[in-house]
Assembly symmetry: C3
Homo-oligomer: 115 residues x 3
C-alpha cells in the first residue's frame, strides 16, 4: 500500500510505503532568511512531515541537501546539527547546485526515513 | 533478491528489490524537443520501465527532477501533471543543475516506485 | 530497526533499514587525483561501506553520481565499469553540478544497496 500525505498542487509532501517515508524537496517558507534560518525552517517542516507519517527525526535514513552556495555550508551544518541527536545522524550528501528557483532560495532538502 | 531490468552499457534502467523499483536517470531520446516535449517523452519511458517491473505510474513514491533552466519549470509541470492522476502525485523535488551532458538536454528524472 | 554505521561529524556513512543500505555522499580522500583516480577511490570506499553493512557491490540498487565536469564522464565510466560486474550494474544517474565543495573535487556518489 502507498500512503500519500500533504498534497500540494504538483506533489505530495510525503509518501509512505513498506515502512519507509519519502519526502519531497523541502524548502523554507521565508526565503528572506539566511542559510541558518532557512535550514531551521526546513528542519521544522521535516519534523511536521515525519509526524504526519508516524515517524520522527530519530528515524532519518538519508538526507540529500542541495545548496546554491557551498561557502554557506557551515551555516547549514550549524542548524542541522543543533536539530539532530548525534547518534541519529542520517547518511547525508550535500551538493552545490545552480538554481533552486529563486536567487534567495539557498537550500532544499530531501529526506528518507523509517516509519 | 535483486532483479535488474533493461540493461544498457553503463547501467540497468530499473532495479527491483523488496517491493521497490529504483530507476536510472531518465532523459528524452529526442532532445531536439522543448521542455514539455522532453518531459512527455520521459513520462512515456517511465511508463515502459515501470511496466517492465510490474509497476505503474499510480505507484510512484518519489521523483527527483533535474532541469537546466528553472524558467522552463512550468513547461515541465504541464506535461508532468497531464500525465499523472492528481491523487497519485509522488513526493517530488525539482533541482536546477549545471549540465545534463548536452546543452539541448533540459531534463532528467529519477523515480522510485512501489511494485 | 535502523542501524547507523561509520559515524562522522555531520553524518553516518551508511544507514541500514528494512534490508536496504543508504550511503552518504562519498567523495575521494585524495582530490589531487584525476576523475578516474577519484572514482577508483570512491569505489573502494563503497566496497568498505557496504561490507560494514553486510552487503557488497553485487547488490547495488541505484547510484546517483554528481560530477562537476561532464567532459570527464568517460573517465568516471572507465573506473566505474572496471569495478562492477556487467550483470550487476545498478540503476544510475549522472548529474552535472556546480560545486562539490572544492574545485578539485570532481565527483561525489550516493548509493543504495540491498543487504
Amino acid at each position: 500500500m502507498v500512503e500519500r500525505i500533504k498534497k500540494g498542487k504538483t506533489l505530495h509532501g510525503i509518501v509512505v510505503h513498506g515502512g519507509v517515508a519519502y519526502t519531497a524537496g523541502i524548502g523554507a517558507d521565508d526565503i528572506g532568511q539566511d542559510m541558518e534560518g532557512q535550514t531551521r525552517q526546513i528542519c521544522a517542516k521535516i519534523d511536521a512531515l515525519l509526524a504526519s507519517a508516524g515517524s520522527d527525526k530519530s528515524k532519518l535514513l538519508r538526507a540529500e541537501i542541495f545548496i546554491t552556495d557551498m561557502a554557506r555550508k557551515p551555516d547549514m551544518d550549524r542548524a542541522w546539527l543543533a536539530w539532530l541527536d548525534e547518534s541519529d545522524l542520517p547518511a547525508r550528501a550535500t551538493i552545490g547546485v545552480a538554481d533552486l528557483g529563486d536567487p534567495q532560495r539557498l537550500i532544499e532538502v530531501i529526506v528518507t526515513a523509517a516509519c
